[in-house]
């Protein structure tokens, strides 16, 4: 598919090194706005490394560094002058395991807005309601917002984490790192439903171990294998007539 509008994220020959090891070996990819990009591949393929390069969370790992270029709206996010804190407010992330912070549901959701300096109680209340509704959690928790987030079930915690990301007013891109790997089918369905609605407003990148999930949710899909991006294209094509034999083997379940 050829994009008419410029890509939201442009990636040029991205290489990520973990010590001596090259975990990502030159990825070039244009990620269009307002779509769900699915990233599939066996474990160790570099999917998570790729995702964490996009919000520079890899920076926190001592001997990790990236080469190449990642442009967000045309601006190089690895440029020394680029504000990494501002980047992470624009590029939110949902982790594989739900991590509610040890504070109330309410405080979990307003964590980002408070950091951005929002003090107005009415505005925070409004953010909490909007975000929890968008994450399909509002009805379950609206009467106990002061309860600790740690007391929610795993599926609820993951939706709380989604709400926490959505609460950031600067948010433009959502990164999801196997967000449903530990969840039951109903919670998974709720997250997937949320994603299909959210893509109207945000650019979504979904790493998943579950190829069926990519087939259900993603508009475009990229297949990663051992640090290389093997193939990238419309989801339908990747799952029916992929160009590369390895992609075909993977999506038909012959390995991985």
């Amino acid at each position: 598919m050829i994009q008419d509008s410029p890509a939201k994220i442009t990636i040029r020959d991205l290489r990520v090194f973990h010590g001596q090891e090259e975990s990502l070996r030159g990825v070039t990819l244009d990620i269009p706005a307002n779509q769900v990009l699915g990233i599939i591949g066996p474990s160790g393929a570099g999917k998570t490394t790729f995702l964490r390069a996009l919000n520079r969370l890899n920076d926190l790992v001592p001997d990790m560094h990236a080469e190449g270029q990642i442009l967000l709206d045309g601006k190089d996010i690895y440029h020394p002058a680029f504000d990494v804190v501002a980047l992470r407010k624009r590029v939110g992330m949902l982790f594989a395991l739900p991590v509610a912070l040890p504070m109330s549901i309410y405080e979990n959701v307003v964590y980002g807005p408070r950091l951005s300096g929002v003090r107005n109680k009415a505005r925070l209340d409004e953010v909490v309601e909007r975000s929890l509704k968008a994450a399909f959690l509002w009805d379950e928790v609206k009467d106990r917002l002061q309860m600790s987030g740690l007391r929610l079930s795993g599926g609820q915690q993951q939706r709380l984490c989604l709400a926490r990301v959505l609460a950031m007013e600067e948010l433009e891109v959502i990164l999801l790192d196997e967000p449903c790997s530990g969840l039951d089918p109903i919670s998974t369905a709720k997250i997937e439903e949320a994603l299909t609605i959210l893509k109207e407003k945000y650019t979504i990148i979904l790493v998943t171990n579950n190829t069926k999930q990519a087939a259900r949710v993603a508009d475009e899909t990229a297949f990663f294998l051992m640090g290389d991006m093997v193939e990238y294209g419309p989801t339908e094509k990747i799952f029916t007539v992929p160009d590369d034999k390895r992609t075909n083997d993977y999506v038909t379940g012959r390995f991985g």
Binding site: L60, F95, P102
Partner: protein, 279 residues
Amino acid sequence: MRIPPKVTQVLAVALLGGATLLTVVVLVFVIVFVLGKGLPEVTWEFLSTNPKDMGRAGGILPTLVGTILLPLLAIAIALPLGVGTAVYLTEYTRETRVTRALRFGTDCLAGIPSIIFGLFGFIFFVVGLKMGWCLLSGGLTLAIMVLPTIIRTSEEAIRAVPKSWREVSFSLGATRWETVLKVVLPNALPGIVTGVMLGIGRSIGETAAVIFTAGSALRMPVSAFDSVRTMSVHFYILAREGISTEKAYATAAVLIISVLLVNLIAYGMMHRFIARRAR
């Protein structure tokens, strides 16, 4: 030849239980012995009046005040320094030879006999800086003495905060400092309080370092540059110089009860704090 598992099981329970029992018995004996000898002498008057005749008669009010002020001053100095160091070592530096050397140094410092700190305090603060025997010299010396304990316990507590919480905080656009303030320190607090309690306990019980630096004046301290005597020192002097065995035991009884109170209050505060967060 093998002893049947049933027998080893019974033996293990007996030995472990015995060890526990012995520990508790010794502890209870010490407390009951001191309280039994000391408590009859402890009256309101004993707590609220000044000593007379070097402590042969009268009360222990100035030493009670000294016992409260000196550890408080020590902790007030050591807590920000210690927690600050711990945060720096865990959050702001990577594990290198330098941090390992610092940690090793801290551990060594924690094991140095208190009288060495007393000697240092005497030479540096009392004589060198011409501060004399006073509350401030003593507080500074005790602060240096408890600093390693506070650093190490804080460090352990900070390390125990899950890495994933920090990652989430960073991923939501927090700076390292904001992450420290909002996620790391609140959750490390119980461990930090434990370190502070250990520090207060050590300060309250300290004699050698205190005599060298805060002196042993029996007057009521009115400024940071007055010499003070703590209950531990008072007890030591009463007993060592044979001034009054009864008053010594009474002082010891008050000392034990104070330490118990401090611990109870700290645990109560911590409990409320945790309960408030985990609602």
